[in-house]
C-alpha cells in the first residue's frame, strides 16, 4: 500500500475538482485489500498490482463523481476512451528530502508545533475537532496553528535550498 500510494494518488488528481481524493484513495485501498484475500486472483506481469489498483481507483473515483452528479467537472470522455489507466510519472519519496522535512518539523516551537504534531501523529484516527479539544484550542485556532506550522516548515526548507 505504502509503495503504490503516491502514483495512485497522482492518478486521481484529474478528479480533484469533483471528489475528495483522500476518501477515494482510502476506499481504493480497502477494496484492494479485499481483492488480495481472493486467492484465485493472480497479479502477474510487470506492475500488475499497481495497474490493478489504478483501475480500482479510477472506478471508485468515477462512482463518486456520478454519485455527486459532478460529471461536468471531470473530462469523462477522455477517461472512458482509455481501457487501461496510465501510470503517471511520480517522483519517489527522496530520503534526503524526508530527513530535511523532519528536521524542519522538529524545529517548530509553541502552539504551531503542538498542533502540527497532534495532526501528524494522530490525525489518521482522531478528527481535528478532538485534537483541538485535547490541546484546549478552538478548531479554527487549531487549523490556524497548522497553517502557521506548514508555512514555517516551508521557510525552513527554503533555507536549506529545497
Amino acid at each position: 500500500m505504502a509503495l503504490v500510494e503516491r502514483p495512485i494518488r497522482g492518478s486521481l488528481r484529474r478528479f480533484a475538482r469533483a471528489i475528495d481524493v483522500e476518501s477515494a484513495l482510502q476506499e481504493t485501498f480497502l477494496r484492494m485489500w479485499v481483492a488480495r484475500q481472493d486467492r484465485a486472483r493472480e497479479f502477474a506481469g510487470e506492475n500488475a498490482s499497481l495497474r490493478f489498483t489504478l483501475r480500482v481507483a479510477r472506478n471508485v473515483a468515477l462512482e463518486e463523481v456520478r454519485r455527486a452528479r459532478l460529471e461536468h467537472l471531470v473530462a469523462l470522455d477522455d477517461l472512458e476512451a482509455k481501457s487501461e489507466p496510465s501510470i503517471d510519472p511520480t517522483t519517489p519519496s527522496d530520503p534526503g528530502l524526508l530527513r530535511a522535512i523532519k528536521d524542519c518539523v522538529l524545529r517548530l516551537q509553541g502552539k504551531p508545533r503542538y498542533a502540527l504534531f497532534a495532526r501528524l501523529m494522530s490525525g489518521y484516527e482522531v478528527p481535528d475537532r478532538d485534537l483541538a479539544a485535547t490541546l484546549g484550542m478552538a478548531v479554527n485556532t487549531f487549523l490556524q496553528n497548522i497553517v502557521r506550522a506548514r508555512k514555517a516548515v516551508a521557510v525552513c526548507l527554503e533555507g536549506k535550498g529545497l
Partner: protein
Amino acid sequence: MNDELELLIEANASAWRDRDPSGRIVPPPAWWDLPPDARVLAFDAQVATRELERAVDSSGFSGTVKAVLARLGG
C-alpha cells in the same frame, strides 16, 4: 488566498475520514464548502500533509496508510 479559504483547505488535509450509515467513506463537511478550483488546492494540501507524515513516521507511513490499516485492524 484569504484566511477563511486557507482554513477550509486545511480542514480537508487530515487523513481522518468519517463513514456514512452504509459504511461508505465520506469527505469532511468542509469539503462541500470548497469551490471546485479550491478543491485542487485541497488535494495539494493533502499531498503535502502526507509527505510531512511520512517524514516523521518511524515506518515511513502516511496518514492514509495508517488510516486504512486502522480500519482493517479495527
